[in-house]
Amino acid sequence: MTTAIMDRSTPQLDELYKEIILEHYRHPCGREPLERVDLEAEGLNPLCGDEVKLGLQIKNNVIEKVHLEGHGCSISTASGSILADILKGKTLDEAKKYLTYVKETMHNKPHSIDVEEGDLEVLEGVKRFPVRIKCALLPWTTLEEAMAGHKHVEIS
């Protein structure tokens, strides 16, 4: 008997661990300390205990630098690295757009906005591994909390 939950098509590991993801994991962006922390938040993935700390250095509504620390799996580390890379030099409004875009991607919703995707594209593959979606989202939900002025977030 085959039921709906028994997905038999094997998602390929290479879909998840794209070379770009591994590259970000090996050499993550956003690891240098900020001169000034204007907004910050801590995120926790209670499922695995992973923690991420995110800080933003902002001038005239523009994100000058993103700083990330904490330990995470390759997916959350790469996702955070891509975040740090992409959001550098963007306005807070643009950052919100990216946030919406990434959430839509991860929740498999049609995109309501358009952004310059860059390396974000590689996160698409994560969708095939549903338990790992939280890992990819962790830095982004932490960013959301930082922008909202909250200091702590648990994603569940």
Binding site: R8, L13, L47, C48, G49, D50, E51, S74
Partner: protein, 436 residues
């Protein structure tokens, strides 16, 4: 004779193809075990042939269901060698048993009283005490663990004082595999008349428990970790204490008489089983206990020991794998025989927790899953212990008597693949990266 091939036929799920051509290799038994056909059949049989509410009908079905349900108490009692002075209470799981104890025993505690637990506890034996602390302003103390992942018994001697009212300890760690010396702990606790509680969630499925000779007052475990269905937990303990404790929940079954003004409690154990219980699953749990006894808990223990030592030996090839296991730790430090001083019998048997500083546990678990191998990655509901070990999460492979050496070979092979996948040299160059 222990015939694993034959045993595997009792578990239909072991034939499951997880992905195309990838048969399930189930190594997450510490989380929950698989169920043999007889247990599954028992549930169907109950609903098809004698489903009725218990203790409250005079009809034939009600009688049959009541007898089948009540019989399981006797089986549980025998399984762990409890005595006539003990009562068997059915709960939803070990967690509920611990909460019941913390709540009902907690009622008599006063500000300044102390509860001792250990650094290797599952959240199920931490949070109920935190909740009690917040209600009663008691203090919670943790027995530290040593470098060999054993309890520090000397430290325990100092922790126990006249203020100590309860000592609640896991018999076997779900992360380190450590088997704690409950007898010794009870002896110490009894010098100050403290109540001793044993979390047997990880021991009951894998080793013989001699409750009558442990010196403890209560013991708790879960059906689903020992071939039984989910939704059933056990609490066994001294009737004398249970009689003095207030009830946990109120409702049907737990009362003797109810008036417009008040109520009186039913006898122990029913006093602690408010409402219609999970009849079908209790009966099926009884079948699981029969099944385990039929194989023989000693045989299970010996077989798992062989599997674990085999796996530990194979894992030595991964130089950069950090292994958190009481047996491996005591071998490393040169006292690795089974009667070594600190390591209790069975210590470190049945599960192997490990991590690699470069490849995250989640990534390892995802990769091995692609080959059908189910292991656990995460904090294993023991976040304080993870903190003590200096990691946020780890991987854990845990075995049961239906696993085979061939499955361990598959696991070792795909673990190698997982480590190699991350070319950063998780397998090879790490030695140069990480100072010893």
């Amino acid at each position: 004779m222990f015939d694993v091939k034959k045993i595997r036929k009792d578990f239909k799920i072991l034939n499951r193809e997880i992905w195309d051509d990838k048969l399930l290799v189930y190594l997450d038994n510490a989380a929950t075990t698989q169920k043999p056909n007889c247990v599954i059949d028992s549930i169907v049989n109950y609903y098809e042939n004698y489903n009725a509410n218990i203790h409250r009908g005079v009809h034939k079905l009600a009688e049959e269901a009541t007898v089948a349900y009540e019989n399981v108490r006797e089986k549980v009692s025998r399984f762990i060698n409890a005595s006539d002075e003990d009562a068997v209470i059915f709960t939803r799981n070990a967690t509920e048993s611990m909460n019941l104890l913390a709540f009902c025993l907690g009622e008599s505690l006063k500000e300044g009283d102390e509860v001792i637990i250990s650094e290797m506890e599952h959240h199920a034996n931490i949070i109920p005490w935190y909740l009690l602390r917040d209600r009663k302003k008691i203090t919670i103390k943790f027995i530290p663990i040593t470098e060999k992942y054993e309890l520090d018994y000397e430290a325990l001697e100092k922790l126990i004082t006249k203020k100590t009212k309860i000592v609640s300890i896991t018999q076997k760690s779900n992360v380190l595999g450590t088997v704690n010396d409950i007898k010794k702990i009870s002896k110490l606790a009894k010098t100050v008349n403290a109540i001793v509680i044993v979390d047997a969630a990880q021991s009951a499925p894998h080793m013989k428990i001699d409750f009558s000779n442990l010196g403890a007052d209560f013991i708790a475990f879960s059906s689903h970790k020992m071939c039984g269905p989910t939704g059933i937990g056990v609490l066994v303990g001294k009737k004398e204490l249970l009689e003095k404790m207030p009830p946990y929940m109120g409702g049907g079954e737990m009362i003797r008489k109810v008036t417009f003004e008040d109520f009186t409690c039913n006898d122990v154990p029913w006093k602690f089983e408010a409402g219609t219980p999970n009849i079908a699953d209790v009966i099926a749990f009884g079948v699981a206990l029969d099944y385990l006894e039929n194989i023989g808990i000693e045989n299970i223990y010996e077989y798992e020991k062989e599997l674990t030592l085999y796996a530990l030996d194979k894992m030595k090839q991964f130089e950069f794998l950090k292994i958190y296991n009481s047996r491996a730790a005591s071998c490393e430090q040169g006292s690795g025989n089974s009667s070594s001083q600190d390591a209790g019998r069975g210590s470190g048997i049945g599960l192997i927790t490990f991590s690699n500083p470069v490849v995250h546990p989640h990534d390892i678990a995802t990769i091995v899953d692609q080959y059908g191998v189910a292991i656990r990655a995460g904090h294993h509901c023991a976040q304080p212990l993870m903190k003590k070990l200096g990691v946020s999460s780890t991987c854990r492979a845990s075995f049961y008597f239906y696993n085979t050496k061939e499955e361990i070979d598959i696991f070792i092979n795909v673990l190698k693949k997982a480590l190699e996948y991350f070319e950063i040299g998780a397998c090879k160059t790490l030695k140069t990266v990480l100072p010893k």
